[in-house]
Symmetry: C3
Subunit: 200 residues, 3 copies
Amino acid sequence: MSLILTLGIVLFSLSSLYFLIKPKAGLNSPFLVSITTLVSYVLMLEGGFLVGSPDTGLYWTRWAFYGLSCPLLIYEISKQLGLDNKQNFTNIFLTAMVMLTGVLSSITSGDYKLAFFAISCVIFCKVLYSVFTSKSDQLVRIAPYMILGWSAFPVVFLLSFEGYGLIQNVLAASIYLGLDLFTKILFYFHHSAVSKTVTD
Amino acid sequence: MSLILTLGIVLFSLSSLYFLIKPKAGLNSPFLVSITTLVSYVLMLEGGFLVGSPDTGLYWTRWAFYGLSCPLLIYEISKQLGLDNKQNFTNIFLTAMVMLTGVLSSITSGDYKLAFFAISCVIFCKVLYSVFTSKSDQLVRIAPYMILGWSAFPVVFLLSFEGYGLIQNVLAASIYLGLDLFTKILFYFHHSAVSKTVTD
Amino acid sequence: MSLILTLGIVLFSLSSLYFLIKPKAGLNSPFLVSITTLVSYVLMLEGGFLVGSPDTGLYWTRWAFYGLSCPLLIYEISKQLGLDNKQNFTNIFLTAMVMLTGVLSSITSGDYKLAFFAISCVIFCKVLYSVFTSKSDQLVRIAPYMILGWSAFPVVFLLSFEGYGLIQNVLAASIYLGLDLFTKILFYFHHSAVSKTVTD
């Protein structure tokens, strides 16, 4: 478990550094997202807020930090899709609520866990609906990140000890790390590459 | 106590669903407010953060969630009153502070409880002042929500176990539920009805 | 210790009252900053969240409340320096992250304390860089607040029990109070005086 989390720390330190140095027009959200994720990984490794042991416990702070980073990601996505400011703010607020209910689902049990998970999913579907009904030609580039990336998080949640406990924490943390790299680093490289091509 | 909170869950599930489906121009704050309040009621029923027993304990999370929903409400109110963006942001920040000091007043005791309550009231009065000195013709419609609705919360707070313990938790929760319906659902129906009349 | 914190309460009550009454064009951030700091001092005196005893314990809530007030200050500073909205938002987000990692550094120990402190400093340097590379003639007025004021907080942190424990809590709290008055009250008087001169 320490290995995976340390790997996350190394990778998000590097990406933070890269996005910090690399010049970027507009809001440097890649850096903000990376540094927030870095802090999240350090905190998970530290283990002070972990409920239970590293191998079977609940890393609920993960969702709290996603509550800071993912609103920034959805802001970028909504911007790239050309949604207006009010739709964008709605998505930002709702994404934060998805993560807040994720925290609550993580630390509660039984029917309440299920209830918070269900509310979280309903809100997430509202965000997805807003993304997929946008009539932007950017949608084809962004869609895979939402379907293969964002939507995989609740599935892993259900399979892990935060849900039905079908997979070990090490496996869950490994998949989460892969998803983090996909949705929080590769997403920005991809967008940056596309923007460059368009400009050239 | 469970009955009242379950009733709150049912009603705010319905209002969330209604506001989710109903088309609305601009920011869909009615949905954001309802879904936030729904989460708050589920958490109160779950009882994990309750300090004490359901019948005599302190439901401080209520005020934390008002700290998320009421800034959205005051945003709408400030907008409808034609306040400028800076006054609006001031009201949003101060409303969140009213609720944060409400949380602190709820969980502390003695002089500190009183001090946090007093600070909360002073900040709330500043917000009320900003609302009632606006020269909008919408004020006559909005005023009852502020006077009979918003201003009743601190009174119930004082009477309940969070204050001087003169009324039972069931009664306090029932009044809060009524006030929630009044300020968070009826308020939007009323505004929506008026807007429609104006448009017609 | 109580004496220093009570002095803080008195001074920030007075400044809150002053900034509340004094007419101010635009966002009344001086009032928002003062009232937030007031709540922070009352909470520190109350001691409910203090980890340890007043004389040797960790007042981590200080940094949580700076996470609310300092983003407002950096907003004003970025505005006065003529930074654009996206740079301004970046500074606001990063300043909040400086304080969040400050909280985490305060309550953890050993390597993790150091790691969170290091991340906090890196982010803070990014904010400082953004301030000092602005080409505004206001920089000469603002610079002393950043160098002698803002930058002194992490130094005191390191010297206090939150760091290497070289100075007592009473001394640390006294210096923090001085820095608070300098960066959160004097800063606004200075700016207000300059603005007036320019207008005259």
